[in-house]
């Protein structure tokens, strides 16, 4: 059904387009998401490196702060060496001493992630504490009046705090540089990736544009093809010679082709019954039935009177969905069968004439048969009388008659006998054409043997070599077929009678699925093939009666019998080299 097919196609198209939509969305997400991710990556690495720079600066600041407080401490310690009673120096020392602890703590917190720095800081703390011990010992000694002298200097040289501080700063600087280099490298890689992503984006976009362009072109092409197809269909409907119309359920014309308008002069919107040609109550009812029951109307025959004359048409109608409407229409197609009707009428008339002729022929055949029957019978009676009374005359004359008188009587008797056998044969021949055939299984082999024995029984002194091939069983009229074999075998014997070694051969030709063919061949005198057509005619003889006896009716009877069985007869020969007589019997009726 077309609806289902259309539905399937629609479904397929929907599936296809949704797949394409999803693929497009994924691509977009990929393009935008990839770029976003890369940018995020690059940005976060930049932020990281800035943070690291700040961190390094912080560490440096703390280290400098620490160094300054240590210097302050050192300075205050020296000052108090020279002026042990200076309260100011003691105060400055105390302040500086109090500061370094928290700074160290901060530094430790800042470099928690770096064990090497932690180690250095530990060392630094030990050095500072060592220094502080020496400072404070020196200050204590001075206060107790002992010479300070070397203790302070020892503190500076034994605990080289500045080297450790430099190492810490150097380490931080190194780390900062490393991180800046890494950040720069990452930024470069990021740039490259962004560049590559842009290229990929461009390619994808180009692909999408190419794809949609292609799609559009295909759609346009398909639309053009569809438009052409629609146009072609419209042209076909418009051009076709059969009137075609679509009518609504109210039997008003919705659409029709040119042929319909030409035939009936109806236009769109006209009621179907407006044309007198369609004003057939029965047909209109049937069309309403089509609309009601949705059953088709097939080949409704109608005779319409139009301007162009009386037309015979057949009307077919079926419901048709209208694409532009919820209602269904009825498609009405009309075939003009006027020519066919005329031909039919002509055939009927010819048949009638033919039947009349056949009747005439049958009648004349019957007359002919009756005539030949009657003639044969009526001829026989006087013949019998001639023969009978000639016989009586001969015996009446007795010994007293002279030679000549007896000869005359003999001629009368012989002629009447000859005429009698002619009439007998003619009667047989006539009967062959008239009698109904009685078909039955006939064993050709047995029949040929039977006929051969019957024909040779009176001629024991003749030497004939018989060559008889195996023969089948056929369906035929037994009596008629016996007559065929009798005639053919009798002829073969008769015309080979002059041969010292007469040979009669009976056999079959190649059997086809359609027919059997049989033949009887002799090595007798044969005949001139120029006359082979005459051979099967009634009373046709190719030899003088003084040479070979016969009435010339035998082969005519053979042909009549075989043709009544639907077969053929033919013969071939060369004078002096024998003759072959063939006949065929159709096999269709021979199959058991």
């Amino acid at each position: 059904m077309p609806e289902t097919l259309g539905g399937t196609a629609n479904g397929l198209r929907w599936q296809e387009s949704s797949v394409r939509l999803i693929a497009l969305l994924m691509t977009l997400i990929l393009i935008v998401g990839l770029a976003f991710l890369i940018r995020m990556q690059v940005t976060s690495s930049t932020v990281n490196s800035v943070e690291w720079v700040a961190h390094t600066h912080e560490v440096e600041a703390r280290v400098f702060e620490l160094a300054s407080s240590l210097n302050e401490m050192e300075a205050a310690a020296f000052a108090s060496q020279y002026d042990p009673l200076s309260q100011d120096a003691a105060h400055r020392y105390g302040e500086a001493r109090a500061r370094y602890g928290p700074i160290l703590e901060k530094l430790r917190a800042l470099t928690l992630d770096n064990p090497a720095q932690q180690e250095r800081l530990g060392m630094l703390r030990a050095q500072i504490e060592g220094r502080v011990k020496l400072f404070e010992d020196a200050v204590m000694n001075r206060a107790e009046g002992r010479a300070a002298g070397s203790g302070l200097m020892d503190a500076v040289t034994r605990f080289p705090v500045d080297e450790t501080l430099d190492a810490i700063i150097g380490e931080e600087q190194k780390l900062k540089n490393q991180r800046e280099t890494a950040a720069a490298r990452r930024a470069t890689v990021g740039n490259w990736i962004i560049g590559a992503a842009s290229v990929v984006q461009l390619l994808l976009l180009a692909g999408i544009i190419w794809g949609s362009e292609n799609q559009l072109r295909r759609r346009l092409g398909a639309e053009a093809t569809a438009r052409q197809a629609v146009e072609r269909s419209r042209m076909i409907v418009a051009t076709v010679r059969e009137p075609i119309a679509v009518i609504g359920q109210d039997l008003a014309l919705i659409e029709c082709n040119q042929a319909f308008t030409d035939y009936y002069g109806l236009e769109r919107g006209d009621l179907f019954s407006k044309s007198a040609a369609w004003n057939d109550a029965m047909l209109l009812q049937r069309l309403r039935d089509v609309a009601l029951t949705r059953r088709e109307l097939w080949d409704y025959e109608l005779t319409q009177t139009l301007d162009t004359g009386t037309r015979h048409v057949v009307v077919s109608a079926r419901m048709m969905a209208l694409p532009d409407s919820r209602e269904s229409g009825i498609l009405v197609t009309v075939s003009d069968i006027t020519a066919r009707k005329q031909a039919e009428a002509q055939i009927l008339e010819l048949n009638r004439q033919l039947e009349g002729k056949i009747e005439q022929i049958s009648e004349s055949n019957r007359e002919l048969e009756a005539f030949s029957y009657s003639v044969s019978h009526d001829l026989r009676a006087p013949l019998r009388h001639i023969a009978g009374f000639a016989e009586k005359l001969r015996s009446h004359l007795g010994e007293g008659a002279d030679e000549r008188t007896r000869h005359y009587a003999d001629v009368v008797v012989d002629s009447s006998r000859r005429m009698s056998s002619l009439i007998e044969d003619l009667l047989t021949y006539s009967r062959l054409g008239r009698h109904a055939m009685r078909l039955q299984g006939v064993d050709m082999q047995a029949m040929v043997n039977e006929v051969r024995i019957a024909l040779t029984s009176g001629e024991e002194d003749r030497r004939v070599s018989w060559r008889i091939a195996p023969l089948p069983v056929v369906i035929a009229d037994e009596n008629m077929i016996r007559l065929v074999w009798q005639n053919l075998i009798d002829n073969a014997m008769k015309y080979s009678g002059t041969r010292e070694n007469a040979v009669v051969e009976i056999g079959m030709g190649e059997a086809t699925p359609l027919e059997y063919t049989f033949f009887v061949r002799d090595n007798g005198v044969g005949f001139d093939p120029a006359y082979s057509d005459k051979l099967f005619g009634v009373f046709q003889r190719l030899h003088k009666a003084s040479e070979f006896a016969g009435t010339g009716i035998g082969l005519a009877s053979v042909r009549r019998i075989i043709s009544r069985h639907g077969g053929r007869t033919w013969a071939e020969s060369e004078p002096g080299h024998g003759a072959t007589f063939h006949f065929s019997l159709p096999r269709t009726q021979n199959q058991f």
Partner: protein
């Protein structure tokens, strides 16, 4: 009781045939009288003792030799009348005709003919056949009494 001598009825329109037949029967030296009528109507008149044969006293014939093709009423119709009659239906009827036609043979046998002989053209055979018939039906055959 002496056997009653019945007639032989010959129904034959051809004078020559009739003459040949009667000659043959005479030569057979049969005691039976031979009655010759020339067509079917006359045959029925004889058999049913009507017309010119009204008042005939003799019994039914020993045999009816019946030709088929005759003017007025043919042999087949005569046979039909004989077989349809209560008194005559057992009379031997021999068709003696020139016809070997199947329809003639079939009709005759269907109507209950006793024999069907085709007249031989050969004169001698004809004489022999008629004599044999006469001897068989008039001398050898025993009729139903009555």
């Amino acid at each position: 009781m002496m056997k009653e001598i019945r007639t032989i009825l010959l129904v034959e329109d051809s004078a020559a045939d009739a003459e040949m037949t009667m000659d043959a029967l005479r030569e057979a030296r049969l005691a039976n009288p031979i009655v010759h009528v020339e067509d079917g109507v006359e045959a029925l008149d004889y058999l049913f003792q009507r017309g010119s044969w009204a008042g005939r006293q003799t019994a039914v014939p020993a045999v009816v030799l019946l030709d088929i093709k005759m003017p007025r009423l043919d042999g087949i119709e005569v046979l039909r009348e004989i077989r349809g009659s209560e008194r005559l239906r057992r009379v031997p009827v021999v068709i003696l005709s020139s016809s070997r036609e199947e329809s003639d043979l079939a009709q005759s046998w269907d109507l209950g003919v006793n024999a069907y002989v085709v007249k031989p053209v050969n004169a001698q055979q004809f004489f022999d056949a008629v004599q044999t018939l006469g001897q068989f039906w008039a001398v050898m055959n025993e009729m139903r009494p009555g």
